[in-house]
């Protein structure tokens, strides 16, 4: 019954979406406000129906209604309630239903919060409902999660065990989806502007707002996914350049390029067609990512035809690609006469190179991701492109981008004066060099990491210097105190300082990646209970083995204690989880995460000084200890005496990546805040030239 109702809701939503799309398009053509209103009501109707379908699916999942196919495939009576609820996005059909739900949510939110641009809105509504129609069609027919199962099984297969190993599974996929799906909104606005034709007015401003939302979600989703991989997969790392990861990175890179080129567009009326093409490309990458990861095509070119969803997605992608490119070529020039860059050293040029580099990374990641598919389709050879390719290509480009992140904010718009550049850049270069020399002096080695730390110090100095310069200029012109001045300045221009905040977050991420990639130490040993191993200054003692039955699995945990300098750091329980009906156990690592462990210690009243002591011995105090139970020779009669193979990773500064992710998220939210109205400044105190340059950026 639930299945039938769900299917009906999806079918009605599909009809409503198609109707709404057609009516909205006509409303745009005929400038008919009455039709446009009907189109908007259709969008609300679609949201209500799809929300009902999602709710029905949750009812079926929680109620173990195994007559519904998705529940029979992904649910089981043993699965804990939390993992049952989130298994909505654990597999293909459910995640497409979730996609459709988020898309209709975004559509209604977009219509609700955007009141201007009346001639544009009907077209954007039509595009969004058109995309909805495609997803609803997939949910209604080839990928129907509500399809009945006869005979009804007594129990379901249960979700993929990797997906029920960490509560983060309930958070990072929705964040990623909010990112992917949200890119449909700026895409729809861009396409609407092209369909309407004529010069754009404040379209790009609207696109910026609606692309910053998914960009922030995507950033959080990517970092959250890295954290999930780190905490669940048990290979000691957080990024392996696999197709699923690349699929989320590509739209992020392109949207990042867009957010930068948009500023050139707003300031100098340059790069219009390029800017609008970037946001269109971002949505295309999000569709491509969904196709790559959800159709099975990555496993093999030939496996994706086993399911009818793969080819349908491919057709959809082709239609979107051809339609978008066609419109850009046909109408792009109407956006306004493009102005050319004059090639002097100025902020525009920095942004241009930032764009070229971001697009270059995107292109190489795309090539590496689909190269095996092309090779298999053309040659029939199965091959893989390993992580070394991605590192080889992305690391140099990443360095160039890091460098630009320092130089860009120091450059003025228009033409740079040499004295300004010297004043802004030379101290920062000095700080960068000093940091490298100091690290060398205390014995830090590793060229890649040292260069990264030096570059990060350079970027940090430039960024903080710019903020300080702004605050000083404000104080000179208004006579406010430093704190109030800074507060007013930030409130007046959240976009600028949100951007700087994001840059600071990116610096933390980059430093964390460099340190953990270069300085990771790894060791493994077969230990009897009571025996210890030495790893990079840590003593790791294996204390014994303890099997622990849980409702859905058997957890075989190894007790491990870690010491440094005779001080106990804690006990950890890496484990192997054995699931019924599953021959192979799943690894769960145990991690001591710094600096979070330190902060947690502070809250529980622990003295932080011993934790920070390594700092004064020239050692990094922010090292994760990462334990994996690789295997155990279990003596069932005396489990406590079983020898076990323990693998230990010492991962320096991985926590900086997670902190950086949080700051990037905060920066994104800050940049979304509306600017406080500029307070009227007494005419005699104001320095109009400075304000114009510093505040309205």
């Amino acid at each position: 019954m639930t299945g039938l109702l769900g299917h009906l809701a999806v079918l009605l939503a599909l009809i409503l979406a198609i109707t709404g799309a057609v009516l909205s398009y006509r409303a745009g053509r005929q400038r008919d406000e009455r039709l446009a209103a009907i189109g908007r009501r259709c969008a609300v109707g679609v949201l209500v129906l799809v929300a009902a379908a999602v709710l029905l699916m949750e009812v079926a999942l929680v109620g173990h209604d195994f007559s519904v196919r998705y529940v029979a495939d992904e649910g089981s009576r043993e699965t804990p309630l939390y993992y049952t609820i989130i298994s909505l996005w654990g597999a293909l059909e459910g995640s497409i239903l979730f996609w459709g739900f988020l898309l209709s949510l975004y559509t209604v939110a977009f219509l609700r919060f955007t009141r201007r641009l009346d001639d544009l809105m009907p077209y954007a509504t039509a595009i969004l409902l058109g995309i909805s129609s495609f997803f609803l069609f997939v949910i209604a027919f080839p990928g129907d999660p509500f399809a009945p199962v006869r005979p009804v099984p007594a129990d379901g297969n249960g979700p993929n065990v990797l997906l029920q190993n960490n509560p983060m599974m309930g958070i990072h996929p929705p964040l990623l989806y909010l990112g992917y799906v949200g890119l449909a909104v700026p895409y729809a606005i861009a396409m609407a502007a092209l369909i309407r034709g004529g010069p754009e007015t404040d379209t790009l401003r609207l696109i910026r707002r609606w692309s910053l939302v998914p960009w922030t979600f995507l950033s959080l989703g990517i970092i959250g996914g890295m954290w999930w991989a780190y905490a669940v997969l048990g290979w000691g790392g957080y990024w392996s350049w696999d197709a699923v990861e690349n699929a989320s990175l590509m739209p992020w890179l392109v949207t990042t390029a867009f957010l930068h080129s948009l500023q050139v567009q707003e300031r100098r009326r340059m790069l219009k067609t390029w800017t609008i093409s970037l946001i269109i490309a971002a949505f295309l990458f999000s569709v491509l990512g969904t196709f790559l990861t959800r159709s099975g095509v990555i496993a093999s070119v030939h496996s994706f035809t086993q399911s009818s969803i793969g080819p349908i997605f491919l057709v959809f992608f082709a239609v979107v690609l051809v339609g978008s490119l066609g419109l850009v070529f046909a109408r792009g020039h109407e956006l306004g006469a493009p102005a050319a860059l004059d090639g002097t050293i100025c902020r525009e040029t920095a942004f241009l190179f930032n764009n070229l580099l971001l697009v270059a990374i995107t292109f190489t990641v795309l090539l590496g991701t689909i190269f095996p598919l092309i090779a298999e389709a053309l040659q029939g050879a199965q091959l893989s492109v390993g992580a070394p390719y991605f590192n080889h290509v992305a690391v140099p480009i990443g360095f160039a981008l890091l460098f630009l992140m320092g130089v860009g904010p120091a450059l003025p718009w228009g033409v740079a004066r040499l004295e300004d550049l010297q004043y802004r850049l030379l101290p920062a270069v000095a700080v960068g060099v000093a940091v490298v020399l100091m690290l060398l002096l205390i014995g830090v080695r590793g060229i890649g990491a040292l260069v990264t730390f030096g570059a990060a110090a350079f970027v940090l100095t430039v960024t903080l210097g710019r903020i300080l310069e702004d605050v000083r200029a404000r104080r000179r012109s208004t006579g406010e105190g430093p704190v109030a001045g800074a507060g007013h300045l930030f409130a007046a221009n959240p976009r600028r300082y949100g951007g700087y905040l994001v840059h600071l977050g990116v610096l933390l991420v980059v430093v964390g990646i460099a340190a953990s990639q270069v300085y990771q130490v790894r060791a493994d040993a077969l230990l009897k209970p009571g025996q210890s191993m030495l790893v990079d200054g840590y003593t790791i003692r294996y204390d014994g083995f303890r099997p622990q039955p849980q409702s859905n699995r058997m957890v075989l945990g190894a007790q491990v204690s870690a010491f440094r300098g005779g001080r106990m750091l804690g006990t950890f329980t890496p484990s192997l989880n054995v699931y019924p009906g599953q021959a192979e156990p799943v690894v769960t690592p145990a991690v001591r995460e710094e600096p979070f462990d330190l902060v947690a210690g502070l809250f529980s009243g622990r003295n932080p000084l011993p934790d920070l002591a390594p700092l004064f011995q020239g050692r990094n105090p922010f090292e994760d200890l990462y334990f994996v139970l690789q295997g155990v020779d279990a003596h069932m009669k005396h489990p406590a005496t079983s020898p076990a193979t323990i693998q230990v990773f010492v991962n320096p500064m991985v926590g900086f990546i997670w902190l950086g992710g949080i700051i990037i998220g905060l920066g994104g939210i800050t940049a979304l805040l509306p600017a406080a109205r500029r307070r009227r400044v007494p005419a005699e105190a104001a320095q109009p030239t400075l304000l114009a340059e510093e505040v309205t950026a």
Partner: protein, 141 residues
């Protein structure tokens, strides 16, 4: 419309050339062909010293794990041939005779020296179709 400055075109060209070089070098050094034991044997002497990713089944009764040297030795087979493999490191807990594995390393002409050993996972996001039976490659879901 003015023409973009020459210095910009030059900069773009430099990036494009550097990128092409990086991509070529990166691909040349990290493309790994994925083959099975019988395909490797069929390549004969051409394959000596080459880097591959080799996938097949662990033949039961041939697994020797040396815990002090941290190596594992086993015979890997597909329906048409088999190859001796040694691998660095203690194998992952999922490893056992009879299952599908993928190793990455170099073929010496008589022995496959693997630097990496992966247990074969079924692709997570394959859409199941009614009546479709997954291939019997003994992978871990």
């Amino acid at each position: 419309m003015r023409r973009p400055a020459r210095s910009l075109i030059a900069g773009t060209l430099v990036i494009a050339v550097a990128l092409g070089f990086l991509v070529y070098q990166g691909l040349a050094s990290s493309l790994v062909y994925y083959i099975t034991p019988s395909e490797l044997l069929a390549r004969g002497v051409h394959a000596d010293g080459q880097h591959f990713r080799l996938g097949g089944q662990v033949v039961p009764g041939t697994v020797h794990i040396n815990r002090t040297m941290k190596t594992v030795r086993f015979l890997m087979r597909d329906p048409k041939g088999s190859i001796h493999v040694t691998s660095q490191g203690i194998p992952p807990p999922l490893f056992r005779a009879g299952m599908g594995v993928v190793v990455e390393g170099t073929w010496t002409g008589a022995l496959f020296r693997a630097t990496d050993l992966l247990v074969k996972h079924c692709s997570t996001y394959r859409a199941p179709e009614p009546g479709h039976v997954p291939p019997p490659d003994n992978c871990v879901t």
